[in-house]
């Protein structure tokens, strides 16, 4: 790819990018969110048409790329969101749109033989007759990869493939990719994670702000260097987490059933000055826990005790009166009114506070002052406080939500996936704010699918699997291996500690 430029409106997503991949290598395309990685690959795959530049495959210039042509040229793409039909089997999904046979009759035997061969060749370990809906995320991803291979792909693009996987699944995926490389396939691996990049890549291209800033061999790269190239400045890896003494129990979740078919209920305490991290693959009851704590959902059993008062049957408003801070897992959907001004958004959740609304009348001038002050304090970058929330970047939206929620000394903070989709700078900022709150004595419940998050911040860690708490320990008593096993539902290779 030479001199690729792609613009969206006034935004240049790709700015004269040169990108070259050699046959039989694993090439990592590394960059922060918004660096232009996905855009570049969508240009390669023919989903976007670039304003400038051209694509060459095996030295042949390609005039107008389209997904169909891409497939004919042996390029396959595995998107972040899977495109599978849930009630068909693996086999049916793989051959969908490319069924062998003639005159409208599918030759199932031939299809099975072909797919089986491929599956064994690359050690996919798939049950071809299982319906898709019964498969884990990792398995679904394999189906997607197999689909591209079945269609004869020689070059396979994977868009952030590990984002949805458990650490173990991610390891397995990397192993499969290495196997594919030895069989002569070319792999383009889009990611923003440094570790897996260094693990698997032969060469690395780094994008920053829509430009290609470096191309280097994985052998001579170090994580510090990669991070510096990605972000454009030095990044400290370790964050300071001062020790603290155990405070009182602020929030106690007692005997709560998260999923209807869970075998056990969940019980844990969050203390003042503590960050309690909930690790686990998404979809294991995190959302239910989030909703129960905020009073949106309910559990038929158990209690939600805030300083010994049961909040289970109390509406969300009461949490606002207690100054609970809430950073929901989906900020655009659950925390922001995207078409409204930042001032209006600042009012959301504060509208029962007498400072902002007196006798039913919104105190506009005060609201404006507060909004602007918080935006300065939390470094929210916007044109002004009347800009609409939806027009901010993801990082700024999250900082804005954080500013609003933690602005008034919350006794309890519920932070769900607080750094999802953010770049390194914003992540570090959000981590530092959470740690500051911890220092000020807030009880913080952190729900995150990112293990790095959990380990960097938490004092205590609980692992959630299928609506059950697999284990709760001090963070330092866990290692990545144990936690990964627990996240996958495997318990008891070693005697496990009871509740901390």
């Amino acid at each position: 790819m030479r001199g690729i430029t792609k613009r969206f409106g006034g935004m240049t997503a790709n700015d004269r990018i040169d990108f070259q991949v050699e046959k039989g290598e694993i090439h990592c395309l590394l960059g922060e969110n918004g660096a232009g990685k996905s855009t570049l690959m969508k240009v390669l795959f023919g989903l976007y048409r670039p304003e400038e530049g051209n694509v060459e495959i095996n030295g042949q210039p390609i005039g107008q790329m389209s997904p169909r042509l891409a497939y004919q040229l042996g390029i396959g793409m595995v998107h972040q969101h899977f495109m599978l039909v849930n009630n068909l089997t693996c086999l049916e999904n793989i051959i969908l749109g490319n069924e062998p046979g003639s005159a409208g009759v599918i030759d199932k035997k031939a299809a099975r033989r072909l797919v089986q061969e491929l599956s064994e060749q690359y050690r996919f370990d798939l049950d071809l007759d299982a319906p898709i809906r019964e498969l884990s995320v990792g398995m679904k991803q394999r189906v997607e990869i197999l689909k591209t291979l079945y269609r004869g792909a020689q070059i396979i693009i994977l868009d952030e493939p590990t984002a949805v996987l458990t650490p173990i699944e991610a390891e397995q995926l990397l192993a499969i990719l290495r196997g594919m490389r030895t069989q002569g396939k070319t792999i383009i691996f889009i990611t923003h994670k440094l570790k897996e990049t260094l693990d698997v890549a032969d060469r690395i291209t780094i994008l920053r702000g829509g430009k290609s800033v470096a191309l280097l061999g994985a052998a001579q790269a170090s994580p510090e260097e990669l991070a510096r190239l990605m972000v454009g400045r030095d990044i400290a890896f370790e964050i300071e987490k001062p020790p603290r003494g155990q405070g009182d129990v602020v929030l106690r979740v007692e005997d709560v059933r998260l999923l209807p078919n869970a075998q056990a209920t969940v019980t844990f305490d969050v203390h003042a000055g503590e960050i309690f991290g909930i690790a686990g693959v998404e979809g294991n009851g995190q959302q239910q826990l989030e909703e129960i704590i905020m009073g949106i959902g309910r559990s038929r059993t158990g209690k939600l005790l805030y300083r010994n008062a049961d909040l289970m049957e109390v509406p969300p408003r009461a949490r606002r009166d207690l100054h609970f801070a809430y950073i929901p897992s989906d900020r655009l959907k659950q925390a922001l009114l995207s078409g409204f001004s930042l001032e209006d958004n600042y009012l959301l959740g504060n509208q029962y506070d007498a400072q902002y609304v007196r006798r039913g009348i919104v105190q506009k001038r005060y609201l404006k002052t507060c909004t602007q002050r918080m935006m300065r304090e939390f470094d929210v970058r916007a044109v002004d406080s009347l800009q609409s929330a939806g027009s901010l970047s993801g990082g700024n939206q999250q900082k804005f939500v954080l500013a609003r929620e933690v602005g008034k000394d919350p006794p309890f903070v519920l932070a769900c996936q607080p750094v999802r989709g953010l770049d390194i700078g914003a992540i570090r900022y959000i981590h530092s704010v959470l740690l500051r709150l911890r220092g000020e004595g807030a009880a913080i419940l952190l729900i995150s699918a990112e293990l790095t998050d959990i380990f960097q911040l938490s004092d205590t860690v609980g692992v959630l699997y299928k609506g059950e708490m697999m284990d709760i320990r001090k963070a330092e008593d866990f290692d990545t291996q144990t936690i990964s096993l627990l996240m996958a539902g495997k318990k008891g290779e070693e005697p496990h500690a009871v509740q901390a």
Binding site: G9, I296, P315, P316, L336, F340, S388
Partner: protein, 354 residues
């Protein structure tokens, strides 16, 4: 994808300008239709303008025709702020009209200062009851408000029809209508011998009230928040069922007011089937007025003018009064279509995101 282009809602002024352009476009299109049909559009529009604004009486006529439309327009706009599509204005209007008639007749003999407010209040309560009922069914039973409202329109208007055909039918009357309400209990006429009454001032008063409600109050903010994103409103402590029921009650009260102004301003009694679809035209008025109360005042004036001018257009230029309906239809087409297309594009954009 950080590059996603966000649709920012254009400010109210922009949307009003947009509405004006749509109106101009529909007038031009109507002119073309008239030319094809062999009429003289310039003459027709001239007559219409004359009929709507040519004299004090014409202006009074225009204004009086706009009164029920501004109220049904408010009713739709208020509910729409909470994301609710109140298509039940027609039923709310009928019950409001009937209730105010009943109260005015029942209190006959008492002083005007008591009867008039009581009749207005009764109309608003009755309309609010129907609106609130729709809100309750939506909030508690989770049934789509459009279906409930449309069915209630039939039930209520047929009920009022029964009442004035049977128990409340005026003695010796050939048509289905109630007894006449004593003249002292009706709205005062602003211009004698016209149908323009002081109900107009109520309309302007409500416009100011609604503007203030959404600009400066917590209740207004909560309603807007629910309309924009209920999922975010809930954890912020807003009681969504209560807001839904409340806003629908208010919406119904406003639609009820439309019925009240017709009874106590125009006819002095309840006449079976008196509304030519004010409840539905109110939707167009609200959309065209960008859900802004002052915008609605303007667009209801426009619709009133079309209505008032149509008679003159008919006898001067010999163009059927139905032409006015064509123009109204075109206005709706030119305003609503881009809106719908815009929404569809935004939805597609969301899907392809990521």
């Amino acid at each position: 994808m950080p590059f996603k282009h966000k649709n920012r809602m254009p400010p109210v002024v922009g949307r009003l300008l947009y509405s004006i352009a749509a109106i101009a476009l529909s007038l031009v299109t109507a002119a073309v239709v008239m030319l094809i049909a062999g009429y003289a559009p310039v003459k027709a529009f001239g007559a219409m303008l004359n009929g709507a604004f040519g004299s004090a009486n014409a202006v009074a006529n225009t204004l009086s025709k706009s009164i029920p439309l501004m109220f049904t327009g408010f009713a739709f706009a208020v509910a729409n702020k909470a994301g609710i599509f109140n298509i039940g204005g027609e039923g709310q209007l009928y019950l409001g009209a009937l209730a105010s008639t009943v109260v005015a007749l029942a209190l006959n003999g008492l002083p005007r200062i008591i009867v008039l407010p009581a009749a207005i209040l009764a109309g608003m309560i009755a309309g609010g009851f129907i609106g609130g009922l729709i809100g309750f069914i939506k909030a508690r039973l989770r049934i789509n408000e459009v279906i409930v409202a449309i069915m209630l329109n039939y039930i209520v208007s047929l009920f009022t029809s029964y009442v004035v055909n049977g128990p409340m039918k005026a003695a010796g009357s050939m048509t289905a209508q109630s007894e006449a309400i004593a003249g002292t209990y009706l709205f005062t006429k602003v211009i004698p011998k016209s149908q323009l009454t002081t109900a107009l001032y109520l309309g302007i008063g409500f416009a100011v009230l609604i503007y203030f409600l959404f600009r400066s109050t917590r209740i207004g903010f909560n309603i807007r928040a629910v309309g924009e994103n209920p999922e975010a409103a809930r954890p912020a402590g807003i009681n969504i069922p209560l807001t839904t029921i409340g806003v629908m009650t208010f919406s119904g009260m406003l639609a009820g007011m439309a019925g009240v102004t017709e009874v106590l301003g125009k006819y002095g009694r309840f006449i079976d089937g008196f509304s030519p679809g004010f409840g539905f035209t109110g939707i167009a008025v609200a959309v065209l007025g960008a859900n802004n109360p002052f915008g609605i005042l303007l667009t209801s004036l426009l619709f009133g003018a079309l209505e008032a001018g149509s008679m003159k257009m008919s006898y001067v230029a010999n163009v059927s009064t139905n032409m006015v309906m064509v123009i109204q239809g075109l206005v709706i087409l030119f305003v609503a279509t881009p809106e719908i297309v815009g929404q569809l594009i935004a939805r597609r954009g969301e899907k392809s995101d990521g």
